[in-house]
C-alpha cells in the first residue's frame, strides 16, 4: 500500500522505538492500560474501588483483587491517570494520526468499515464486522490480561529481552491464531 514502509525500514523503525523506550524508561506495554481506563471510569462511580492506604507498597489499595495486586500499583495509576504508562498509550493515537497525515498509508472509505479480505468473504454490510470485532476485542484483552501482556509487552519487548515468557506467549498466539485465520478467511 502507498506510504507503507517495506519490512526492512519498518523493522528498523519498530526496533528503534522498543530499544529507545527501554534505554530511557522501561519496556513498552499497552494492554494494562485497558484495565487502568476501566478503573478510572469505575473510580468515578465508586468510593471503595481505589483508596489511599499507607500500609500498601504503592500507597493505594483496592477492594478488587486484581487492582490490588503487586502492592496496589494498578490502584495507584487509576488514582493518578497522568502517569507514564497511561499517557504513553494515549500519545500512541496522536502518533498514528501524525503518521497518517504526513504521508502514511491511507485506508479507503470502505476499508474504514472493514478490511478488504473481510468484505470479500462476508460482504459489505459493516454491522457483522462491528459485532464480530467487538467480541474479538473482548477475547484479545481478556487473553492479554491472563497472559500478563500483549503483542507489544510480551512479544516485542519480551523477546527483545530474551524473556522466556515472550516465546511462550508467541507460541500460544500463533498456534491458535494461524489456524483460526485460515479457517475464517481461507488461504485463497
Amino acid at each position: 500500500m502507498n506510504g507503507q514502509l517495506n519490512w526492512f525500514k519498518g523493522g528498523l523503525l519498530l526496533g528503534a522505538v522498543f530499544l529507545i523506550a527501554v534505554a530511557f524508561v522501561k519496556p513498552i506495554g499497552v494492554s494494562t492500560q485497558f484495565v487502568i481506563a476501566d478503573g478510572i471510569v469505575w473510580n468515578l462511580f465508586s468510593d471503595t474501588v481505589v483508596q489511599k492506604d499507607p500500609e500498601s507498597k504503592s500507597g493505594y489499595s483496592s477492594s478488587n483483587a486484581y487492582l490490588n495486586k503487586s502492592g496496589g500499583k494498578y490502584a495507584k495509576n487509576i488514582a493518578n491517570p497522568i502517569n507514564y504508562s497511561f499517557i504513553f498509550v494515549l500519545a500512541m493515537v496522536v502518533g498514528a494520526f501524525l503518521s497518517s497525515r504526513l504521508g502514511g498509508p491511507q485506508p479507503t472509505t470502505l476499508d474504514r468499515n472493514a478490511p478488504e479480505i473481510w468484505r470479500q468473504r462476508f460482504g459489505e454490510n459493516p454491522t457483522l464486522r462491528y459485532v464480530t470485532v467487538f467480541f474479538a476485542g473482548v477475547l484479545v484483552l481478556f487473553g492479554a490480561r491472563l497472559a500478563g501482556g500483549c503483542t507489544s509487552g510480551h512479544m516485542m519487548s519480551g523477546m527483545m529481552q530474551t524473556s522466556l515468557s515472550g516465546y511462550l506467549f508467541a507460541i500460544g498466539a500463533f498456534a491458535i491464531g494461524v489456524p483460526a485465520a485460515i479457517f475464517v478467511y481461507k488461504r485463497h
Binding site: 500500500m1 506510504g3 514502509l5 526492512f8 523493522g11 523503525l13 526496533g15 528503534a16 522505538v17 530499544l19 527501554v22 534505554a23 530511557f24 522501561k26 519496556p27 513498552i28 485497558f34 483483587a65 486484581y66 507514564y84 499517557i87 504513553f88 498509550v89 500519545a91 500512541m92 496522536v94 502518533g95 498514528a96 494520526f97 501524525l98 503518521s99 502514511g104 474504514r112 468499515n113 478490511p115 479480505i117 462491528y130 470485532v133 474479538a136 476485542g137 473482548v138 477475547l139 484479545v140 484483552l141 490480561r145 497472559a147 500478563g148 509487552g153 527483545m160 529481552q161 530474551t162 524473556s163 511462550l168 506467549f169 500460544g172 498466539a173 491458535i176 491464531g177 483460526a180 485465520a181
Partner: protein, 184 residues
Amino acid sequence: MTIFLAILLGVFFGFALQRVGATNPQNIINMMRLKDLHLMKAIFFGIGFSSILLFILMAVGVIDAGHLSVKSSYVGVIVGGAILGLGFAVAGYCPGTGLTAIADGRKDAFFFVGGGLVGALIYTLLYGSIQGTWLFTKIAGGKVMLATGSDKFQALLPMIPGTLLALIIGVVFIVTAWKLPEKV
C-alpha cells in the same frame, strides 16, 4: 520529565505502527493466514536488531540493566496468548494496533477498543476467583530470561555468556526476517 518522555515515545511508537502498516487489519489477517509476511519480517527484524543493540549497550554500560522488565512465565501466558491469538486473527487487531487504528479513521477499531475495555473488565472482576489456580503455575521458575544480563532476573542458560547468546538469537531473528518470503 517522565510525562514528557511518555508523550514523545508514545507518539513515536504510534507513528511507527501506522507507518509499518500494523494499524491495517488486512495486513495482520494476511500475516496470520500466511499470505503476506511483510509484517512478520518487520517484527522479526525489529526484535533481532533491537535485542542485539540492547545487550551490547548493556554490556558496555550505556543502557542500565535495571530498566529491563522481564515478565513472569506461567501456564496462563500460553493460554492467554491462545485466547488473544483467536481474537487477533479474526479482528486483525491487537491492543496497540486496534487503538492506533482509530487514528486511521477505522470505525471497526472503535468496536475493537470497546470490546477490549469489556474484556479487561471481565478479567479484572474474575481475577479474584482464578488466582492461585493452575493457570498461574510458574514455568521454569517464573521471571526468567534466556540470556544473562540483569541481576534482577534468573537466566535460563547461564552457561552461555548473555551478550553472546543474545547476539546469536538476534542474528537468527534477522536471518529469519531476511529469508522469509514476502508473499506466499
